[in-house]
């Protein structure tokens, strides 16, 4: 049986094609102004990499912020839509079967999910405040005038702890500028930024409770500077699977393959 999961996020679209529990291909790309077109392009690429066509897929499930845009619309023609929380739980338990807590940090949202055998037991979401999402690190990278992918490695070079007072992304931007003027090293500022977002995410996740194993997924999981302060805040080891940004799409593909759930 072949299925696909399409995760249309706030920033990136991710597609996973699954055949009998094995991943045939993965593709991702930026979501532009035309959601259907940009997600469709990513979908076509995944099909091409897998060497199949849409007709070979028994079912396609869509998740993510833009999921409704691709429902029953070509080229994706998704058969169903699944909430991000449900898709995350299914995907995380597929890659880490012992997972009990899933932390998903995307571009514009953060989620903490308690799971058991691929099913959701409880969850908490932040979709209102940019300070607990990937946008925070991006905005701060702009203020520091460095590339966002350099932020994590920079923060890991610092051993100093500078507290950030601002909780808001807009206020933190001014605070970063003040720190630059005070000649604080960019590495130290990068660490302060990662400590701040880790603090925000941990206080959100603690509302549902943290039970081992803890799995970190979503695009922000690719940032090597984020895991260490989060582990410190939550006082537990965190597993970051390979391809963490594809876990939601994988979950959707898993659910699409399993109709009697």
């Amino acid at each position: 049986m072949m299925t696909a999961g399409v995760d249309v996020g706030a920033k990136m679209a991710k597609v996973v094609i699954l055949k009998d529990g094995h991943v045939l291909s993965r593709a991702k790309g930026l979501v532009g102004f035309d959601i259907l077109k940009s997600a469709g392009d990513v979908f076509q690429k995944a099909l091409k990499d897998a060497g199949i066509s849409r007709g070979d897929l028994q079912r396609v499930a869509a998740t993510g912020m833009g999921r409704e845009a691709v429902l029953q619309k070509p080229p994706i023609n998704a058969d169903e839509v699944i909430s991000e929380v449900v898709a995350d739980a299914a995907g995380a338990c597929q890659v880490v079967p012992t997972a009990k807590t899933v932390i998903d940090v995307g571009a514009e949202e953060g989620r903490g999910i308690k799971v058991e055998g691929g099913k959701v037991r409880d969850f908490v979401i932040n979709e209102r405040c940019a300070a607990g999402a990937g946008t925070f690190v991006e905005t701060m990278a702009r203020a520091l005038e460095v590339r966002v992918e350099d932020m994590g490695p920079m923060s890991l070079r610092s051993t100093n702890t500078i507290p950030m007072n601002a909780q808001c992304c807009v206020f933190a931007e001014s605070e970063v500028v003040t720190l630059i003027h005070a000649k604080t090293s960019k590495d130290d500022i990068a660490k302060a930024i990662h400590d701040a977002i880790a603090g925000r995410i941990s206080s959100m996740v603690l509302r549902v409770g943290v039970e081992k194993d803890v799995v970190l997924i979503g695009g922000v999981a690719l940032n090597p500077g984020f895991g260490p302060p989060l582990e410190k805040e939550l006082n537990t080891k965190i597993i970051v699977p390979e391809y963490p940004e594809f876990v939601g799409a994988l979950g959707a593909a898993v659910i699409a393959a399993n109709p009697q759930r």
């Binding site: 405040c129 940019a130 946008t135 992304c169 807009v170």
Partner: protein, 294 residues
């Protein structure tokens, strides 16, 4: 490469004024209040409890320097010097950084006291919308604080949020409120709370072809609703007044009035000065106490 000149739409005018014709040489007590806000700094000079001169400028990177500059600017051209001030009180976010202040007093107390001075003893609810925070204050007939609520954690509902928006739609901040009222019908408010997300949402609306005015209306209306939420939690009792830098934005003030169905009192002097005025009045009282005058 051609130099691209970018206009700073968020930048608001800085100025000083002497408002009283009194001769300070004949005064008994000269005091000053220095309000170092997170975005703007204000200094007011009072002669025998009456506003004499003031200055308003942007808070710089070093609060101490700003405190000295704004006070000297308020005194400029009056013949007065900082040494002649009998008592100075510092207030605002940077109040601990006013080098010549004898005392610091919280901006909550100063805003209530200043609002009482500007609007009179009937004031019971003061809404102060500043650069990086928003406070709803209940006070008594003497201008004493009874209770308050404050948002200083989130840029939504503060002047900073308006600065970000002014830059986005390329409209000078001083025009922004007027522009937001230039719509035939009020559009639905922007749905995101967070300034970062609201900015992205506004950009999407502009791309959809909404005119600037309509997007501005949606943004202002969301901001006004958020402020009203804070205000209703502390309770609104008449008379109601608005202070702080955002009073210069008519789009916010008129929408507050529309939602609350209460007309705020008309100010007799610039409501952005409320914090500094309160500090000057406290300075006078403290000086009198110090000198055994009361």
């Amino acid at each position: 490469m051609a130099q691209v000149k970018t206009q700073e739409y968020w930048r608001w005018p800085e100025y000083r004024k002497t408002v009283s014709g009194r001769d300070w040489h004949k005064a008994d007590i000269i005091t000053a209040g220095v309000d170092i806000g997170s975005v703007g700094s204000k200094a007011t000079v009072m002669v025998d409890g009456e506003l004499y001169s003031y200055a308003i400028m942007r808070t710089g990177g070093v609060s101490e320097d700003t405190a000295i500059k704004v006070t000297e600017w308020a005194l400029e051209g009056t013949g007065l010097e900082a040494e002649k001030l009998n008592y100075v009180v510092g207030t605002g976010y940077g109040r601990v950084n006013v080098p010549f202040a004898k005392r610091t007093i919280t901006e909550i107390a100063c805003h209530a006291r200043g609002a009482h001075y500007i609007y009179g003893p009937t004031v019971r609810t003061v809404l102060d919308i500043g650069g990086q925070d928003c406070k709803a204050i209940r006070c008594d007939e003497r201008g004493k604080v009874l209770s308050f609520l404050m948002n200083d954690k989130c840029a939504a509902g503060t002047g900073r949020g308006l600065e970000v928006f002014a830059d986005l739609i390329s409209v000078p901040i001083s025009e922004l409120g007027k522009v937001s009222l230039d719509v035939a019908q009020e559009p639905p408010p922007v749905s995101n709370t967070c300034v970062i997300f609201a900015k992205a949402e506004s950009l999407a609306l502009l791309r959809q072809g909404w005119p600037k005015e309509k997007v501005a209306a949606a943004y202002h209306s969301a901001m006004a609703e958020r402020i009203v939420d804070l205000l209703t939690r502390v309770g609104v009792e008449k008379d109601f007044v608005v202070t702080g830098g955002v009073t210069n934005n008519v789009g916010i003030v008129q929408r507050l009035e529309r939602i609350l169905k209460i007309k705020p009192l008309e100010p007799q002097m610039e409501p952005i000065l409320a914090g500094a005025l309160g500090a000057s009045l406290f300075a006078k009282a403290l000086y009198e106490k110090e000198q055994g005058l009361r």
